[in-house]
């Protein structure tokens, strides 16, 4: 691998409390927004409800993976090891739901 860093395990310095507290704050805020959305009947009835919830949880998912699991900072191999299977898993999930779920037809 090109980066002949002395300690390639930590290609870049991991973040510290300074960043982590903001990460936690953002995660908390998104969670509050999600639950809030759940309690607005007009929003729940609208067609924006499901996509916006999916988007919010995807953002949370990505933030945890990038910052807490250090994928943004670690060796690129780990990114490949995670995103590859994640893509296969997500595609399988979507395909199964389209093939079998009654509520989607």
């Amino acid at each position: 691998m090109a980066e002949h860093a002395v300690n390639p395990d930590h290609v870049r310095e991991h973040p510290t409390w300074k960043q982590y507290k903001w990460v936690a704050a953002i995660l908390t805020i998104i969670t509050i927004l999600e639950v809030w959305a759940y309690y607005i009947p007009a929003f729940v009835a609208s067609s924006a409800f499901v996509p916006s919830l999916l988007l919010m949880s995807a953002v949370k998912f990505a933030i945890v993976v990038m910052f807490y699991m250090h994928l943004k900072y670690d060796h690129k191999l780990f990114r490949v090891l995670f995103t590859g299977p994640l893509v296969v898993a997500a595609a399988t999930l979507v395909a199964l739901v389209f093939l079998l779920a009654t509520w989607i037809r």
């Binding site: 999916l54 945890v64 509520w103």
Partner: protein
């Protein structure tokens, strides 16, 4: 070749030469996490496929009246409680990264002007305790949720929702349990001999597992609890 002995005495594995320069255990845990993606994708798909197909209640988001007895079953999911437990699990991830950072930086002296909070941040024991306790709290919430569901008439056998709900969240809960035990054993090591920066990797792989269990919950919370 005398340095063998020296290396074997210390933490020999830390210094093993590898092709990528990465530790074998970290490569393995990421492969394992990849595998777990497929495991939870299968469980979640099944839950979603069986959504709305139960022939009897109780149901997650809808009221169901038993046609033969007239008994009314309210929507069973308890969003306020689960929101709280979701928050608890998110905070446990914060505690986990702080524990890892504390272990990683053990050898760095605190600056002269370090305050109370800086000293807390440097304590791996504190943050491992926090992670464990928050994880156990999450499990407590889940135990409460499961028992109250059973009281309201939802069991593994009652309907498709019961089968798929308890299995999915139960698998997640089992993962949290394993995580708490794993972190507990790290804590035991910390008390026995103190975790050193050379142990970072050992804590790192536990942390990766822990955060992964957290992101799975992020997906479950939205797909199972919030979306109707």
């Amino acid at each position: 070749m005398t340095s063998h002995a020296a290396a074997a005495e210390g933490h020999a594995h830390e210094h093993h030469y590898t092709t990528t320069g990465l530790d074998n255990r970290k490569v393995a845990i990421w492969s394992f996490i990849g595998s777990e993606c497929m495991l939870f994708a299968s469980l979640i798909s099944t839950y979603l496929i069986y959504k709305g197909r139960s022939v009897v209640g109780p149901l997650p988001h809808e009221t169901w009246t038993d046609p033969s007895t007239g008994a009314v079953f309210k929507p069973i999911l308890n969003i306020p409680i689960t929101s709280a437990s979701t928050f608890v699990l998110l905070m446990s991830s914060l505690a986990m990264v702080l524990a890892l950072a504390a272990v990683e930086n053990k050898d760095k002296p605190l600056p002269a002007n370090a305050g109370w909070w800086d000293r807390q941040l440097a304590s791996s024991k504190l943050w491992l305790w926090c992670t464990c306790i928050l994880g156990a709290t999450f499990l407590g919430f889940q135990a409460f949720e499961f028992t109250s569901f059973v009281h309201e008439g939802l069991t593994l056998r009652r309907n498709l929702f019961g089968s798929s709900f308890f299995t999915l969240t139960g698998f997640h809960g089992a993962h949290v349990t394993v995580g708490v035990i794993w972190l507990g054993s790290l804590l035991a090591i910390d008390y026995k001999r103190g975790l050193r920066p050379s142990d970072t990797l050992m804590v790192d792989i536990a942390a990766l597992y822990w955060h992964f269990v957290d992101v799975v919950w992020i997906a479950i919370f939205t797909l199972v609890y919030l979306i109707k």
